[in-house]
Symmetry: C2
Subunit: 418 residues, 2 copies
């Protein structure tokens, strides 16, 4: 359907889109988030796939979109695709969000294959065949696999650049997307700001990246930490046998971290007033384990009895509740990220801190901890911002960095620049 | 033996010593570290007690010292006491270092009781009966217990102030105490600096405190993290069944963290050149666990089979090596502390960073990680400093903050100010 089926010219146009991401246009007029039960969607398969329930409706976009975007991280592959809704009163369409476990990339590929077939069914054979914009490490690691299995063009985009494009889009274009969080005022939607830059983006996936963004094309990865979502999942699955992230988060909701954490009161027997540490403050994550395990060993009289190999089974009499361990580690990892993010924001002289990535998952304790950490360390000067599509920032960015080939013809008037 | 047995006057003198810590004098002329096998000491008991092998010899101090100092932390109680060496050619004496597990505080009390008896045997009944200077949280938590069991005067000193007094002493008075560390140049002793302040002291015990010190009496706890030694011990003992810190460190020496950590190469399949991340860089601590466990579950066909309660036992077929887990967590915790310490040093505009606390234990990997983190983040501008008595900074500080009552009489000439 393109006016120019010449591959050489297509490629020039493509290059322009890649090298001029700021110039990519999408019709986001009147865009809004659709809240519905993700189970109402008919999944291709149920295992290793997670449908999100917050589609973004683009009521004024009627053109054909001939690409999907996928952000393949260490643990999850996040997919964003557009579907037209010709039967809806305002026509238009929506952005759909779905993720797959990265080690089951085959499921993701199968899903994209179906989208490709649907695209061909709807639009007939044309030079505008579906292409895939891929970002994240998996865009490199699985490049050959994707290309071979899908037989489509795979355009690779840099992970950091996609994150920025995606976040800028969410900040400036989507109402009720960005919010602050506190126990007293959960989910206060933030007003769109005209002065978006500079900001610090803290993306929490398996690991954590912190990116200072000074302008649409000005950014620097200033730091990060490898204590991230993968650490929580890994240690928790080994300690508790829990299988899914949601299971672990549900346990954390029921736990009491003081069952495993050493509090200031455990050391002092009271507040440590001189430096303002309350007795309930955490002194050492999992710090109670040493004392309780050693005390139990002492009582059972096995310590020092190193020849007895079986004692390892019989002494560890103290058991720690899965819920308590889960709450402790979730708090520790979130709080640690919060502290480092604050310190980086100070070093980089940035006031606004956005937290994204699949680790957050809209979980209250996580957001509360991150939010509290920023308020606490900054003495109320700074705030943490969250996103409803926190896991899809990079994928949406990748989606937006590809200009659909037929876009200019049908949407030249009402496209908003992102 | 004091010239003034009047308790009221003693107490005035005591107050002066407490409130004027900078004025406390100790004869450290020619002090040096004695390296000998700690096993050559005859221990009272062997369980839960750890003798150090780096006594400090004070060849010119001949006076009676009628106090011992103990720093009771969340996991360890560190004891410093002075012994005279009347049979040695130069007379004098030495500072001894020993620690006990805090949950076995009774052993520590028993040990102090023996010191008290020896003191009485040597000096006869006198108003200079042994007293105990106590610091750390346990000085509060176990105050009544110590007082009742020992029947001696217990003087409490603030933990942060003791750390500073102790570190200042080590920096300025003890040769071959402070060193820098790198793989290429392990243990390079630092020259004594005339301009000691300001510095950042990072004390790593069960938890971590970071203290900015601007002068002998000017300090502020600027931060810390509860991911410390207690976290390493706690999680490792639960995951591996190892019982002692030394056992865990020995395992770490044999491990390969890439057995459990997700590396950049695991995500990208190559370096992530654009932002300078090598494929061998750690992306997510324990981040490989998710992928490997999920893949194993998928193969054994148990996923989604939630009714089968027994599957939890049968599926977790992947096992991770204790050595690999230990190395990974030791690295993660050390590196995290290193990063936060660097960022705090930036915020506080401090160039010198001292790492102390029992977590370090002279362990190569730990020191190398901390050292590398400071060099890496500061682009070579800053350095990490370590101490041979890293675990005893607070205890030594507490020891020095008490002026022995007979001190002035015998050592008024050659005492050096600390």
């Amino acid at each position: 359907m393109s006016s120019s089926p010449d591959p050489a010219r297509s490629s020039v146009r493509l290059d322009r889109a890649i090298f001029n991401p700021g110039a990519v246009k999408i019709n986001v007029k009147g865009a809004f988030i659709v809240d519905e039960d993700p189970r109402s969607k008919s999944p291709v398969r149920t295992d290793g796939v997670h449908y999100e329930g917050h589609d973004i409706r683009l009521p004024h976009h009627t053109g054909i979109v001939s690409h999907v975007a996928v952000d393949i991280g260490g643990s999850l592959a996040k997919l964003v695709y557009f579907t037209r809704e010709l039967d809806s009163p305002d026509n238009g369409g929506r952005l759909n969000f779905i993720n797959f476990e990265t080690h089951r990339i085959d499921l993701c590929i199968e899903f994209i294959k179906e989208l490709k077939e649907e695209h061909e069914k709807a639009n007939g054979p044309s030079p505008d065949q579906l292409c895939v914009v891929a970002t994240g490490g998996g865009a490199y690691k699985y490049y050959d696999k994707l290309k071979e299995a899908l037989q489509v063009n795979i355009i690779r985009e840099d992970e950091m650049e996609c994150l920025i494009t995606g976040l800028d889009f969410f900040i400036t274009e989507i109402p009720n997307e960005i919010f602050t969080y506190s126990e007293i005022e959960p989910m206060q939607f933030a007003e769109a700001r005209p002065d978006v830059y500079p900001y610090l983006l803290v993306n929490i996936g398996s690991g954590v990246s912190m990116i200072k963004v000074s302008g649409p094309k000005q950014y620097q990865r200033v730091g990060g930490t490898h204590l991230g979502g993968g650490t929580f999942w890994g240690i928790m699955s080994l300690l508790t046998g829990a299988r899914t992230f949601d299971e672990m988060l549900a346990m954390a909701d029921q736990g009491d971290n003081s069952g495993v954490d050493m509090l200031v009161g455990d050391i002092y027997g009271m507040d440590y007033n001189k430096i303002g540490l309350k007795s309930t403050a955490i002194a050492s994550t999992f710090g109670k384990v040493f004392r309780l395990k050693s005390a139990a060993e002492q009582e059972s009289g096995t310590e020092g009895d190193e020849a007895d190999e079986e004692s390892e089974q019989t002494n560890g009499d103290v058991t720690f509740k899965n819920e308590d361990m889960s709450r402790s580690l979730l708090y520790a990892i979130s709080n640690n990220i919060g502290q480092i993010a604050y310190l980086q924001s100070e070093k980089q002289q940035v006031k606004h801190i956005y937290f994204g990535g699949s680790f957050i998952r809209g979980h209250r304790q996580t957001m509360n901890t991150l939010s509290y950490a920023i308020r606490f360390w900054s003495k109320g000067e700074k705030q943490a911002y969250f996103l409803r599509h926190e896991g899809y920032i990079g994928a949406v960015g990748a989606f937006l960095r590809r200009k659909p080939v037929n876009w200019g013809r049908r949407n030249s008037i009402d496209g908003a620049s992102v």
